[in-house]
């Protein structure tokens, strides 16, 4: 049995989030089905505590307290991913990683290593350019202005398989978006293959998960079957941790 008023307050916040962060009272009423007086009282409480703001045109917006609390929550995401990455290791036998975009760079935020003696390792905290990694391609495939990122960072050659032009990369990202996963077949490091899938919060891609290992071992796996399995795990993670849960 949950607390109705708290559920309603969360409904109001979700309604604001669904409207690009700000809305009028009548828009919130339409979305939540709550009466004006009720919404108003909930909003005043959230306003008092900084979780909501009121603009000069009387419209309401999400408030700065959510940036602060959201930042605190964000620092925990890596630890939440570990059981899911462990499943990916179980499925593939290879090291699994999760990465996020930080500015123009890919940053590894969680890892579960393969039990094998010969295994990939990328220390948590390591930052790399996005163009030559599978996780980078997944993160940029959903980016509003991926071309600009590549123009800023460049696409320096890492191996003789690296994609080095913005044009070729944009073509590659279309392919990634279409099929729902990215491959790195020795683009970042010779002899290493990697397959990555997106993690979404219901609306946006917030992270990428991947498995990587020696080219021979990854090539021996059924690529589409592996991608399907990894996507299932990543989708479960995204749905379990980030996606909205209506009351």
């Amino acid at each position: 049995m949950s607390v109705q008023s708290v559920e309603r307050a969360l409904d109001v916040l979700e309604a604001l989030a669904d409207h690009g962060g700000e809305a009028g009272l009548s828009e919130i009423a339409a979305r939540t089905g709550l009466p004006y007086g009720t919404i108003h009282r909930l909003l005043q409480t959230l306003l008092l505590r900084g979780y909501v703001r009121q603009e000069s045109d009387r419209r309401y917006a999400l408030g700065g307290a959510l940036v602060r609390i959201g930042g605190a929550a964000e620092r925990l995401v890596g630890s939440w991913a570990e059981p899911y990455l462990a499943k990916m290791v179980e499925l593939s036998g290879e090291t699994a990683n999760m990465a996020v975009l930080e500015g123009d760079f890919v940053v590894y935020v969680a890892q579960v290593p393969s039990p094998r003696r010969l295994r990939m390792f990328a220390e948590v905290g390591r930052r790399v350019l996005p163009h030559s990694t599978a996780v980078g391609k997944v993160l940029l495939a959903d980016h509003p202005n991926a071309a600009a990122v590549f123009e800023r960072t460049g696409l320096p050659r890492r191996t003789d398989r690296t994609i080095t032009t913005v044009g070729a990369m944009m073509t590659e990202l279309s392919l990634v978006a279409d099929r729902g996963y990215a491959m790195d077949l020795g683009e970042e490091e010779s002899g290493v293959h990697c397959l990555a899938v997106p993690v979404a919060d219901g609306a946006r891609v917030v992270a990428a998960m991947s498995v990587s290992g020696p080219a021979e071992r990854i090539s021996a796996l059924d690529r589409d079957e592996l991608a399907r399995g990894l996507r299932k795990i990543a989708d479960d993670f995204g749905a379990e941790v980030f996606a909205p849960r209506p009351g």
Copy 2:
């Protein structure tokens, strides 16, 4: 008149945030003064909606829904800053900017231009290296691992006043931390001076605000008085938008 249950739910979230994002029920009880049964019921509601998670050791943690909603709120921060930047323009007569750290780069997220015909301009969205800007020094002065950032980005010379070694930069950042503001005296661009101050959420520096203009005009201002005035405005912004407001 606010909604008590909503305030209590927010108290619980703030208690979790104050404990590094996770805590046991008794820690939350100690911090909020609420009875166990009440807290438990509030937590179950937040759990149901993904705003809180329960770890395997029965402890509670902030949840992924806060990352999602917090991200939506974060995209509005630039627009909230504008009235405060306008005050900085009024105070100094010069263009005022707000910037945040995105990975290793400084990104300008809001600006109010000076009314003068000769004025500084930095388009919103522009990203620069942190070493040669006043805002960059402010943001790195509070950074847990600033030296590593500079080692990654390098400190390329922009003008003959640019600081180009990590050692000299770390000394500079100590000075910035001590006196609470940073200066750029022609380090990024010859003939341009800039003064920047931090914006805090109560615990961390989340942004920097600055004014910049021609060297002669900025030099003609009383530096410490200007810094005091800018800090007051930035502190008001941080307190108004981000800082916790106990019920």
